[in-house]
Structure formats: structure tokens, C-alpha cells
Symmetry: C2
């Protein structure tokens, strides 16, 4: 039996895990073998060139983790055996970050989604803004499905232990309402605000969830800033340079994640 891990042959050099297309069902305390066809089959057998007996790490959409063994391969499907690894609890980060990026053009939105997942976003809620795209080309469902695929690919590559929930694009008031008051909510602003905060101050207290809004190319409009502030969102200014929208997404998550990850090391002056 080969162990299909990074560095071994089989085209899976940079892939850390396989993400199952659905959650396997538990019967009598164990997972029955499942049949994979379509894209999952194509990816495992054609792209990764897995053989019968190959074993790899897998994760279900609900975050459960498995050892997956290829049991048999047919012309257009394969059967895999799953045994759970870990304690069955989805391994979430200390703080779950929902990124709310302004909707931008397709290829740049794709980059934003990919990098947000790599950086560890727990949810991505694209938002329509005055200076960004409102009526983007293409069907909204099609695009959402596309982002979900990109998110799964990114998760496979980076080996993350939890998937990112992806919502279809929605207007700013709707998104703010959806967030309600699950936790602190911040927005990155390209100008320093009188009401501005630093991330260290905003992140000094532990929180299980937080949301981060990032603007489109032209930034948030004045009325959008007022609306966000009315809904309790705090503005953050991250330096003089005007970041591209997709750059702002990763920059914001990296800044927030690092401050949270190192919380045991620092305190407010």
C-alpha cells in the first residue's frame, strides 16, 4: 500500500488533503465505503493518478477528517473506504473570521477567495457596494458555485482543518443585518477616520467570531461608512497605500490573524 503524501509520486505534490464532495453518513458507529464519481473521481484518479490501495488524508465539508483508502476503481467511478481521524470535532481557530469583501471583477474575486481561504477565513460573504460591482457579469448562483469550488481547491492545497462557508453576493444593508451582532465587525478604510481604531485595541478582548469588511477599488462611499458605523462596525486604517481590493482581503486577514495568534505575547499599553 502506497501512502500518497506530499512529495510522493502521483501528481499530489502540493496537495495536503482531499475534500470530499459530501458528508459521509454514519451507520452503526462506522462509515460505510462511499462511491465517488464525476469531479471527485476525475480529480482523484485522473488528476492525482491515485491507484487502488492508495491512502490519503481527506476532509468532509462539515470538517470531519478521515483516512481515505481507494478500494476499487471502475471506468468512471471509484469506491473509497473512510476511517475517521481526530476526535470528530471540526478543528476551528480560536476566532472565526468572516471576511466580507466588496464584489469585484471575476478573476480578481477568484484570487481574493483563494487567498482568503489560504489565510484561514471561516466564511466569505461577498458584498455589493456603491463603488464596486453590483450587477456582475454572469449568474449569481454560477459565481457562488465557482467560488465554492475555488475555496475547496484552496483548502485541499493548504491543508486547513475547516472549510469556508460561502454566501451569494448581497447588498451592504442585508449583509450587516445577517451579521447582526454575532461579534465585533470592522471595516478597512483607505483614509484615517476620526473615529478610527487600531487592530490591537479592537482585538484586545477574546472573541469567538469577528467580521472584516473590505472595500472596492474606489473605497466605501461616505454613506456606506455612515451605515457601517451605525451598525456598530469600527473603521481601521492600514497605512497610506491604496490596496487593490483583492490585496486588501488578504492583508486584512493576515493582520487580524497574526494579532490574534500572538495574543499571549502582547497587551495594550
Amino acid at each position: 500500500m502506497n501512502f500518497c503524501e506530499p512529495g510522493s509520486s502521483g501528481g499530489c505534490k502540493t496537495v495536503k488533503q482531499f475534500v470530499l464532495p459530501f458528508n459521509p453518513e454514519l451507520a452503526d458507529g462506522k462509515f460505510a465505503p462511499i462511491k465517488l464519481d464525476g469531479k471527485a473521481f476525475h480529480y482523484l484518479i485522473r488528476v492525482r493518478r491515485c491507484k487502488r490501495g492508495n491512502q490519503l488524508s481527506a476532509m468532509a465539508p462539515n470538517g470531519l477528517r478521515f483516512k481515505l483508502i481507494i478500494q476499487s476503481i471502475a471506468a468512471d467511478s471509484c469506491v473509497v473506504e473512510l476511517s475517521q481521524t481526530g476526535n470528530g470535532v471540526e478543528k476551528h481557530p480560536e476566532t472565526m473570521i468572516t471576511i466580507i469583501p466588496a464584489l469585484i471583477k471575476n478573476n480578481r474575486m477568484d484570487a481574493a477567495v483563494r487567498q482568503a481561504v489560504e489565510a484561514g477565513a471561516a466564511a466569505i460573504w461577498p458584498v455589493q457596494t456603491a463603488h464596486g460591482l453590483i450587477h456582475a457579469t454572469g449568474n449569481s448562483n454560477t459565481r457562488t458555485e465557482r467560488w465554492k469550488r475555488i475555496a475547496v481547491e484552496a483548502l485541499q492545497q493548504c491543508g486547513g482543518t475547516y472549510a469556508a462557508e460561502i454566501e451569494p453576493p448581497a447588498a451592504l444593508p442585508e449583509v450587516l443585518k445577517r451579521w447582526n451582532s454575532r461579534g465585533p465587525i470592522f471595516f478597512l478604510h483607505e483614509k484615517p477616520l476620526e473615529t478610527g481604531f487600531t487592530l490591537h485595541r479592537l482585538l484586545a478582548d477574546e472573541t469567538t467570531e469577528l467580521a472584516l469588511l473590505t472595500g472596492p477599488e474606489g473605497g466605501f462611499s461616505e454613506s456606506e461608512v455612515r451605515l457601517m458605523e451605525t451598525c456598530g462596525a469600527k473603521g481601521i486604517f492600514l497605512g497610506e497605500r491604496i490596496l487593490r481590493s483583492e490585496t486588501a482581503v488578504l492583508y486584512g486577514i493576515a493582520a487580524v490573524m497574526t494579532i490574534i495568534r500572538e495574543r499571549k505575547e502582547w497587551k495594550l499599553k
Copy 2:
């Protein structure tokens, strides 16, 4: 006279400044009008569609900043008037960050360079590593020239006040020697190291320069880690997910920049 600024007509909506192709010379305490042709002419007149009398912000490669006025336009060149703005001193950040990214494939290296400039890197020194590209396709000079162009474009878009110095790719020992001991030097590692540090601890003391090494897809090799540590570089672990090389570049700069920018807010526990 029109003022060509973001939001005005003329195709310059997302451009914050024009970067001059050379440093204008000072004669008798003032800058004489200069003639622009080739790419600079093409960009200003064809792409941005500037007209005679248009005025825009400009920066020279040495960081000096100007008000630029289009004085006359010929078939394939134009003459511009320059008057200096600011105090003539290049406005650098408190800490200048040199990013030393592992050399990766062309299009992804391009993305890394662009995002590094947006995020505020003061220098970019691509490095050849065991698991990355050593003999990349294409001539090294051609590629370096290409990265310089991308850096200038990014600087024009983000409106930064200092340019990024770009060096041709070099081997790891050479790059470490070039850095010598200009300031602290860190490397991002995909595994936690026994000798690992947190960024807050490493950045607790003010420094005018620092360097950040980021690895290729497969990470740094063990002997590279030993070499870097021997040269005084400190390893940093930024979370469980394996970032793509270009994602690690921006993630690292964002993390470092934010901690430095907010240094007045926090202290070590």
C-alpha cells in the same frame, strides 16, 4: 487647466500617481522641463489620455515627488513641467522592509512582486532555493526588468511614497551575505520550530530596517533552515495552513507592517 485626479475623466481613475522613468536633474535650484517618449509617453498620453495643461502627481525613482504639468504633446513625445512637492526627502516608513521571496514561476512571481509593493516593501530580492526555481525560464535580466516594471505600475496604482529596490535573483548564501547585519532578519517557516519566535517579540524593539525571507511551495530545506539560523535569521511560524509562495509574501509583510504600525498601542506581556 484640468486636474487629473482619481475619479476625473481621462482613464486615470485608479491611478494615484505617475512614476517618472528617470530622476529629473536639478539645475540652478529648479527642475527644467523634461521630454518623455517611449513607454512613459504612451502611458500618459495614450493610456491615461492626458491633454495639454493636465496636471498630476508624479514621483521619481529616487522618491522625490512632483506636481507634473503636460506642457506640449507631439506625435511620439511630450514635454512636462515639474515642480517639486514635499520637502525633497523621500518619505520612507519607520521601518524599511526588504522582502526576500523564493523564486517561483513567472506569473506567480509577478503577483508576489505586485502585492509586495502595494503592501509597502522597500526592497525585493528574489532568492533561489532548493525547493523553488533555480534556473527559471527566461533571462535573469529580462525578468528583473519585468519585475521593475510591475513594481512601478503597482506604485502608480497604490500611491506609495517610496519605490521598491529590485535585485536580480541570487542564491541563498549570497543574499544572506548581502544583507549582512543591516538589521533583524526573519524567515517564515511552515512548521513550528523549536527555536521559533513570535513577531511581536521580534518586533518589540524599533529598527530602521528588517528583512523577511519567504519560502517556495515545498518550504525551505533543512540545510537552508540551518544556514539561515547560522546567519542570525529567526524562524516564524504563521499558522497551520501551508500558504502558496505568493500568498506568504503578502501575508508576511501585512503581519509585520501592522505590528510595527501599531507599536504605540501594544507592549510585550
